[in-house]
């Protein structure tokens, strides 16, 4: 670009990724601090924040996968279905087939990987629209969940229950309750898995060849091809990673709820897409950041908590607020990018 032009606007100085990331992080902190100031109550306790993490560990993992697919220019709406299928299969395996925890984990990974391989092949090598492929994947997974077992049920497996009730206490963050008893702050094991994955994926996307090729393919497929990147394989890998992460997320979700049901994780794909978009991942591909995605999930669940704390407890408000927020961010993205294009001209 024109290096001598000193009158560049602020939009062109910051890269797309960083600009959207900064917007997201600022919005999250403004929202959380606003909630502490105006709603007080539960928001003043650190455990509130950890509860958000506990409830959304699976969402964090699926959103990371979604971000990777979206960065490479695709989309995957089958993740919610995969999560439901994984939790149902693991539940049936543990309770009815006398399986153990280790094999159930393998099942979770296997289901995710299978979905990723098939969808990735259809998208990358047969060049079918990712939306249609994953829409079919979503319906297939939901339908399969009911075929595996129609009725929802709780898992009774002793070893699993022990794992499910494992708590990791965080020193120094606890609070004293009304009776004067010290209640330590805790997170569930799933949160550690989620955070570890966030760190690993952050490093992969930022500093490895594969990670950078996701951005290149999503930004401009033609130029990526010219640079010698294997575009088909990159898109394939992005789908495999996304679905495998959905498989892991399915197990984390299962660990959180401890039951199998066909109505688990309804609309999770929507929340994952919303989190990624709020976290600054562009729908058109090529722009995004895993750290932003983490903040996207946190912003989304903070809003949900604010809505339910404000007394608007009816179930429909959650759907409406998420949709409104998604709409807002989509429009912001569209406007920011249009401005940037104009500034570059």
């Amino acid at each position: 670009m024109n290096q001598e032009n000193k009158k560049q606007s602020i939009f062109t100085k910051v890269s797309d990724t960083n600009l959207l990331l900064v917007i997201t992080i600022v919005i999250f902190f403004v929202m959380y601090i606003g909630a502490i100031l105006f709603q007080g109550g539960a928001f003043t306790k650190p455990q509130m924040f950890f509860n958000i993490l506990n409830a959304n560990a699976a969402l964090i993992i699926t959103s990371c996968g979604m971000s990777i697919v979206m960065i490479s220019g695709g989309i995957d709406i089958s993740v919610g279905g995969v999560v439901a299928l994984v939790s149902m299969c693991c539940a049936v395996h543990l309770d009815m087939h006398g399986g153990n925890i280790f094999t159930s984990m393998l099942i979770a990974l296997g289901i995710g990987l299978a979905f990723g391989l098939v969808q990735g092949f259809l998208v990358a090598y047969l060049d079918i629209q990712p939306f249609i492929v994953s829409l079919a994947g979503m319906f297939f997974a939901r339908g399969m969940t009911t075929i595996v077992n129609t009725k929802p049920f709780n898992v009774e497996n002793a070893a699993f229950k022990a794992l499910m009730e494992t708590r990791i206490y965080i020193p120094g963050m606890g609070t004293v309750n009304k009776k004067g008893i010290y209640v330590p702050a805790y997170v569930e094991p799933g949160v550690l898995v989620a955070l570890a994955l966030v760190i690993v994926l952050f490093i992969v996307l930022r500093w490895t060849k594969t990670g950078r090729s996701f951005y290149a393919v999503g930004g401009n497929r033609q130029s990526a091809l010219m640079l010698g990147i294997n575009v088909k394989r990159t898109r394939f890998i992005s789908h495999v990673i996304c679905s495998s992460l959905a498989g892991i997320a399915g197990y984390v979700y299962f660990l959180h709820v401890g039951s199998g049901s066909a109505s688990h994780a309804l609309g999770m794909e929507m929340n994952a897409i919303a989190s990624s978009i709020i976290g600054g991942t562009m729908l058109s591909g090529g722009v995004g950041n895993i750290a932003g995605t983490l903040f996207g999930v946190l912003s989304l669940s903070t809003i949900q908590n604010i809505v339910s704390n404000a007394g608007l407890d009816q179930a429909w408000w959650t759907g409406i607020t998420i949709a409104a927020m998604l709409c807002l961010f989509l429009v912001i993205q569209s406007v920011v990018m249009a401005q940037k294009k104009r500034a570059l001209k």
Partner: protein, 354 residues
């Protein structure tokens, strides 16, 4: 007789007709009584036709109406509207609110049925306007833009009626989704025919079809030719909104009430499937309305057949998903190229032998 395989392969109606033949054969082998039609009095004492084929005609009609709008959206924007199920809930809920006046069990109608329907049309078109604005002005991918209403739609529908389930007291309201006394054919058939005629006239006497295809094939060159792509895309979503309102009338009329979380569930999948089955490219461009309408009835044929095989309603999507995958695999350009290369190779070999 010489059959040109390449020409046959490229015929748009090949896929739907093959699917129809396969489905008919499967039913013939499984249970030939599938094709019988009985004339018997229904609950209200009128003689009506019944049987699986009539069910297909009845329920396929609402799908055909949606398929008309979905074809236009697909052709113009290269994406699909996945919010149709949710917007049916919104339009239906608005209609009930007007008809029942916000009371859950009214004695009489609060407004004439036609007013309720017009309100549903306006609401459906407003949803179309919302989706259309996001897609055409803000240039958001259609499926993502409609994802917003897909999530929020059923919540909004519940909110319109304060989460109550009003029941329409007038028995005439049930005619739209059932039978008119004295006429043994489902009313939905006539509604569908009316919609199809309107659509056919619109395509015949206006440039809508041509412009839509032009925008879908190449947006920038259609702009250079003096077409406004933004407006055409926007218009296609508004027309779909109108189709949704008609479908909502039928859906609500069937029960005379509404169930927010269940009404028209998964219908977006069927509508998209109808368009794909009709041989239309899901990536936009050229379209064939008749293919989509035929596709809609075939989808309903498939659904009815699956029910005949005692497939659980909740497990239905799994089977349909397999059909979608098979369809898109065969219509993908990569596979088509390979297939036609294969057939021309065979031809070359045959020539070599001769």
């Amino acid at each position: 007789m010489k059959i040109d395989i390449k020409k046959l392969l490229s015929n748009q109606l090949l896929i739907p007709i093959t699917a129809l033949v396969i489905l008919c054969l499967v039913n013939l082998v499984n249970d030939a009584s599938f094709f019988t039609i009985k004339l018997a009095p229904n609950n209200e004492g009128y003689n009506v036709f019944s049987g699986p084929l009539i069910t297909i005609l009845d329920y396929g009609s609402e799908l055909a109406i949606l398929a008309i709008g979905m074809t236009l959206v697909t052709a113009a924007s290269g994406g699909q509207d996945i919010s149709v199920g949710a917007t049916i809930a919104i339009a239906g809920s608005a209609m009930l609110r007007v008809l029942c006046g916000g009371v859950s069990k009214p004695e009489a109608l609060a407004a004439p049925i036609i007013v309720g329907f017009l309100v549903a049309c306006i609401v459906g078109m407003l949803c179309g306007v919302f989706n259309g604005l996001l897609v055409s002005i803000f240039r958001i991918q259609p499926m993502i833009a409609t994802l917003i209403l897909f999530t929020a739609g059923r919540s909004i529908a519940a909110w319109i009626n304060n989460n109550e389930l009003p029941i329409v007291p007038d028995p005439k309201f049930k005619y739209f989704g059932g039978f008119i006394p004295g006429i043994p054919i489902p009313t939905t058939t006539f509604i569908a025919i009316a919609c199809i005629v309107v659509a056919a006239l619109l395509l015949k006497f206006t440039n809508l079809g041509l412009y839509t295809q032009a925008v879908g094939i190449n947006e920038s060159s259609s702009r250079l030719n003096g077409i406004n792509p933004t407006f055409i895309k926007f218009l296609s979503f508004v027309i779909l909104g109108l189709c949704v309102a008609v479908a909502a009338l039928i859906k609500v009329s069937r029960l005379a009430t509404i169930n927010y979380s269940v009404i028209a569930k998964d219908i977006e999948m069927d509508a998209i499937l109808a368009v794909a089955l009709g041989g239309n490219a899901l990536s936009g461009g050229k379209f064939n309305m008749w293919g989509s309408i035929l596709g809609a009835y075939i989808i309903q044929f498939l659904t009815t057949t699956l029910y005949k095989f005692q497939v659980d309603a909740a497990a239905l999507p799994a089977y349909k998903a397999v059909v979608v995958i098979i369809l898109v695999v065969f219509s993908s350009p990569v596979v088509r190229e390979k297939l036609s290369a294969l057939s021309s190779k065979k031809k070359a070999a045959a020539k070599g032998v001769a």
